[in-house]
Structure formats: structure tokens, C-alpha cells
């Protein structure tokens, strides 16, 4: 197995692990972090795709995709965290479960 395959499979595994955690774990903060782990998995796959064994330079297109993806991931995480704080405040007002979703 080449290094390329190792990176590719690790990326895929990260995506699957993040996805499974989002679905199975009730912790809100954990879910948000897991989405980021899954996202990093996708970025890793893209970076591996950009690697071209025989060429002098790597392919810039997947790298541009990763850069855009990071921008999106940062904003999405910011929105998720802001929303999580409001969910938590609203829940503690009503004296219900604090950080879990329902």
C-alpha cells in the first residue's frame, strides 16, 4: 500500500468516524466537533488527490477547494457554536436538559 492510499483511506475513515459520532452521540459540542473531524477527513482526501507523483507541482484545484472548504467550515462552526449557546440558554430557562439535544 502506497502512502497515497494510506492518506486516502485515513481521510475516508475520519469522514465515517465523524459522521457516526454526529448521529450516535447526544452531546451537542461533541457533534459540532465531530462535524469538523468529518470535514477534515474530506479535506485530507482532497489534498491526497492534489498530489501528483510524477509531476513537479501538485494540482492546485483540489487545494483551492480545501481553502474554500476551510472558510465554509469556520463559518459553519461559528454559526453552530452560537446556536448551541442559545439552545443551552433557552433550555436552562425552562429547567430542562442542558447541553444535549432533546
Amino acid at each position: 500500500m502506497s502512502a497515497e492510499h494510506l492518506y486516502l483511506l485515513t481521510g475516508m475513515a475520519l469522514f465515517v468516524m465523524g459522521g457516526v459520532y454526529v448521529v450516535s452521540n447526544p452531546q451537542l459540542l461533541g457533534k459540532i466537533l465531530a462535524i469538523n473531524v468529518a470535514g477534515s477527513g474530506v479535506f485530507m482526501v482532497l489534498i491526497t488527490i492534489a498530489y501528483r507523483a510524477r509531476a513537479e507541482y501538485p494540482d492546485p484545484v483540489p487545494q483551492a477547494m480545501v481553502l474554500t472548504g476551510i472558510v465554509v467550515a469556520v463559518s459553519a462552526t461559528a454559526v453552530a457554536l452560537a446556536l448551541a449557546v442559545r439552545v443551552r440558554n433557552a433550555s436552562s430557562d425552562n429547567d430542562t436538559d442542558k447541553t444535549t439535544e432533546e
Binding site: L28, I35, I49, P62, T68, A76, V79, L83, V87, S91
Partner: protein
């Protein structure tokens, strides 16, 4: 008339700019939003005329050609979706202007955020419908998802916030799955342009994985059964104008991409069994959504479950379109049902908002007397319900009729059974609401005088849905120049 290239760019840039203006100067937010809504209606009508007169339009941004450049592209299908967005948009904006009163305790100070978020959502939707670059579509999916989530969170109620949170996580997961699929496609074909991908498609395991990943991400976003769990709480706890936008437009965006991917981009490698599976999920959505709608006790929850069911019909087009002679009928049917549902469902949610406004609740069994006090609202409910059931001359009827045709032509009789059972169930849940709303009472319980601005936007939308099949021919003309249906080669527009 403006040149088509300018219209494509304006349809995205105008709402985006207006969103910034509306956010920075909240005092002018509503007028700015209404003016841009009117402008987008004119632009989409102009684009529709241009396209039906010529051919699909492709515009390479910055003059860069694919595979490196990113292009905007408009064919009949894209134009119909953009027009749907513009029509629902202006009606909902007019309704929202009357619905969100300043100082309303139920929604609070965050109401001011409705306008910039709505404009941002519109920019995202237009960009999604007009993109032909797989990665650009990922970015637009995120734009649409984030603004839709923020719109749900305008409602301050804890259940709305929890629904928004779950919606956000689902939406992000869906986008990531889609992006991973795009990455696998790029690894094999070294292009992100959907048309170039279509031309170089091979049935490799990696391509199949890409199709599965992209489709599952989009199915999650379209709330296709059994991935619909997030939709009913999000759509029923959002403020009524937001629910109208989400049910009418946002879920259609994901379906639009599924339609393009399955009927065009991946056309060569889609197998009969895979298409049948999509149809079976659609059938599951119709049955499950309708049964849940029958059981719902709140009007808004019923309407939200009805969306789950109506999304199911759209997916029946995928197996039906696989047979040579039936593909045009099947794809047109899906478009008819999508448009009809967009208008009818937006109208239905405006009436639900009105009921909440006058009664303070939306319990179905306590809705008696609505038709006595507010005949126009009750009439709107009836018209929209008619389109949801699929009675003639509504767009729903046209869609189901075309779907039945496609089922008979392709010999797939089992979908006929699904369509008939689905229509019966729809009739049952619509009449459940109507019968309560039209019950006459000795003493009328509603004292609030209703602003006419809360009634006419819904009425116009419901009329459009109920009369859509009369407007059939121009729609067919528009669809005929769609690459999805006829495989017309793309034409380069001059930069």
C-alpha cells in the same frame, strides 16, 4: 432587454448586495427586500423569454473556460426553478411585511434579521440553480443551508432553536457527503464541470461511490424518507413566512440537483435497480408522510408532514424516467409537482400563520369558525389543499396525470398504486383540516380584524397552484430546451 449574461449575474449579485444593505440599515430592510423581490421577478421573466426564444445559455465567469473556469448555466429547468423562487419570494415577502409587526413579543427583536437572511437565502438558491460547477454547487448548498437554519432560529422558542440546531447538523453532514463525492469525481475525471463530467462518465467503483455519497447528502437535505426526521420539527416551529420558504423552496433545491445528477450527469451509469430504489424511498415518503399528517394534531405539523409526502412524489420521476419513451413525461411531471407544491405549500403555511395570529394556537380540532370570520383564508386553504391532493385544474393534477402516463408507457404499474393511495391519503388529511375550518359556530370566537395584506399573498399563490395546468403549454416549451430532457448540446455564449 438585458443580455442574458447580465441577468445570470444580477440574479445572484442583486439579492446578495440587498442582503448586506438590509443588514446594515435595518430601517430600510423591508422596502429594500420588496424592491429586490420585484426586480428578481422581472429578471427571471426576462430570462425565461430569452431562453425560450433561443437555447440554453452558458456564461463563463471572467472568460475562463472549463475545466479551470467556473460557469453559470441556464436551461429551461433552471429558469423554471429561478422563476419559482422569485414568485414564492415576492408573495412571502409581502406576507412577511404584514406578519412581522415591530415589537411582536412572540418573535422579538430578531424579526429584523428576517430580511437580510431571506435575501441571502434567495441569492444562494439562485446561484445553486444557475451553477454548473460541482464544487460551486457545494458552496451554494452551504449558503442555502446556513441561511435557512438562521431563519428557523429567528423564532426564540426553545423547540425552534433545538430544531434549528438539528437542521444545521444534518445540513452540514449532507454537504460534506456531497463534497466527498465531488472529490472522488475530480480524482477520476479532473474536471468539476457537470457537462464535461457527463461526457466522460465511466462506470467505475469510484464513480458509483461518488454517486452514492452525493445522492445521500442531497437526500438528507431534501428530507427524503427515511432521512426526513429533521424536517417536521424545523418546518413547524419556524415563523410562518420562514416555514413557507423552507417547504416551498429549500427542499426543492436539493431535489433539483438529484434530478440533474440522475437524469443527466450520471445518466450513463444509473442502473434500473438503483433508480427503482430511489422510487421506493419516494413511495415510502408518500405513505409515511401522509399517515403522519393524518395523525398530527397541530395544523403546522400537518402541513410539514405533507411536505415529507409531497417530496416523495418528486422522486418517483427517477425510476419512471429510465424508460426511453417516458423520460420527458416523468421529468415534466416532477417539475409540475415541484412548482405546484411550492405555490400550494407556501400558501398553506401563510394560512397557518394567519390562524396562529387570530386564534393564538393551531390545534386542528379547535379551528371551527375560521371560515365564518375569515372566508378568504379558508378559501385559500381549500385551493391550496386542492393542489396538494391533485384535483384538476391544479398543477398537482397535471403532474400526477403525467406520472400515471409515464408509469403506463414504461409498464411500471406499481407506481400507479402508490400514486392513487397517496392521493387518497392527501385528500383525507386535507379534508381533516378543511372540515374543522369550515365548521359553523353559533358564536364566532374570533374578534381580531384581519389585515388584508395577510390574506392576499397566500390567495394569489393558491390560485397559481390551483390553475397551473392551464398554464401547461408555456411550461412545456421551457422544459423542452432543457438538457436534462432532450440532451441539447450546450452552446457557448460570447464573452
Amino acid at each position: 432587454m438585458l443580455a442574458a449574461e447580465y441577468i445570470l449575474v444580477l440574479l445572484i449579485v442583486l439579492p446578495l448586495t440587498a442582503a448586506v444593505v438590509a443588514f446594515l440599515w435595518p430601517r430600510y430592510a423591508a422596502p429594500v427586500a420588496l424592491v429586490s423581490a420585484a426586480a428578481m421577478l422581472l429578471l427571471s421573466a426576462n430570462l425565461a423569454l430569452l431562453i425560450t426564444a433561443t437555447e440554453p445559455i452558458r456564461y463563463n465567469l471572467g472568460g475562463w473556460q472549463a475545466p479551470l473556469g467556473i460557469a453559470l448555466y441556464a436551461d429551461g429547468l433552471a429558469v423554471l426553478m429561478v422563476s419559482m423562487t422569485a414568485i414564492v419570494g415576492i408573495a412571502v415577502a409581502a406576507y412577511a411585511r404584514a406578519y412581522f409587526q415591530p415589537g411582536d413579543s412572540a418573535t422579538g427583536s430578531r424579526v429584523a434579521l428576517f430580511w437580510p437572511l431571506w435575501l441571502l437565502l434567495t441569492a444562494g438558491l439562485n446561484a445553486l440553480f444557475l451553477s454548473i460547477d460541482a464544487f460551486n454547487i457545494y458552496v451554494t448548498l452551504e449558503l442555502v443551508g446556513l441561511s435557512a437554519v438562521a431563519l428557523v432560529a429567528i423564532a426564540q422558542k426553545p423547540e425552534a432553536l433545538r430544531a434549528a440546531m438539528r437542521y444545521l447538523l444534518v445540513s452540514l453532514l449532507g454537504s460534506l457527503a456531497y463534497m466527498l463525492g465531488v472529490a472522488l469525481l475530480y480524482a477520476q475525471y479532473a474536471t468539476l464541470d457537470l457537462e464535461m463530467l457527463h461526457l466522460s462518465m465511466n462506470a467505475t467503483p469510484a464513480t458509483w461511490t461518488a454517486l452514492v455519497l452525493m445522492s445521500s447528502g442531497l437526500m438528507l437535505k431534501a428530507a427524503l424518507f427515511p432521512l426526513h426526521f429533521w424536517l417536521p420539527p424545523a418546518h413547524s416551529s419556524a415563523p410562518a413566512p420562514v416555514s413557507a420558504l423552507l417547504s416551498a423552496l429549500v427542499v426543492k433545491a436539493a431535489f433539483y440537483l438529484v434530478l440533474r445528477l440522475w437524469l443527466h450527469v450520471f445518466e450513463e451509469i444509473v442502473t434500473v435497480n438503483a433508480a427503482q430504489l430511489m422510487g421506493m424511498l419516494g413511495a415510502g415518503a408518500i405513505l409515511w408522510g401522509s399517515l403522519q399528517a393524518l395523525r398530527a394534531e397541530r395544523f403546522k405539523l400537518l402541513v410539514a408532514y405533507s411536505t415529507v409526502a409531497q417530496i416523495g412524489y418528486l422522486f418517483l420521476a427517477i425510476p419512471l424516467a429510465q424508460t426511453e419513451g417516458a423520460s420527458l413525461a416523468a421529468a415534466s411531471a416532477a417539475v409540475y409537482l415541484a412548482l405546484s407544491h411550492a405555490f400550494a405549500k407556501a400558501a398553506m403555511f401563510t394560512t397557518a400563520g394567519t390562524v396562529l395570529h387570530v386564534a393564538g394556537h393551531d390545534r386542528i380540532r379547535d379551528m371551527a369558525g375560521i371560515s365564518q370570520s375569515y372566508p378568504l383564508t379558508a378559501f385559500t386553504m381549500g385551493l391550496a389543499g386542492m393542489a396538494l391532493i391533485g384535483l384538476p385544474p391544479s398543477g398537482g393534477f397535471m403532474g400526477k396525470w403525467l406520472m400515471l402516463n409515464a408509469a403506463f408507457v414504461s409498464g411500471q404499474w406499481w407506481w400507479v398504486v402508490v400514486l392513487l393511495v397517496g392521493s387518497l391519503l392527501a385528500a383525507a388529511y386535507v379534508f381533516r383540516v378543511i372540515s374543522h375550518a369550515f365548521t359553523h359556530l353559533e358564536q364566532i370566537p374570533y374578534q381580531i380584524k384581519l389585515d388584508w395584506k395577510l390574506e392576499w399573498p397566500g390567495l394569489l399563490l393558491a390560485l397559481l397552484a390551483a390553475l397551473l395546468s392551464i398554464l401547461a403549454l408555456p411550461l412545456f416549451d421551457a422544459l423542452n430546451i432543457s438538457t436534462v430532457l432532450s440532451g441539447t448540446p450546450l452552446t457557448e455564449s460570447k464573452p
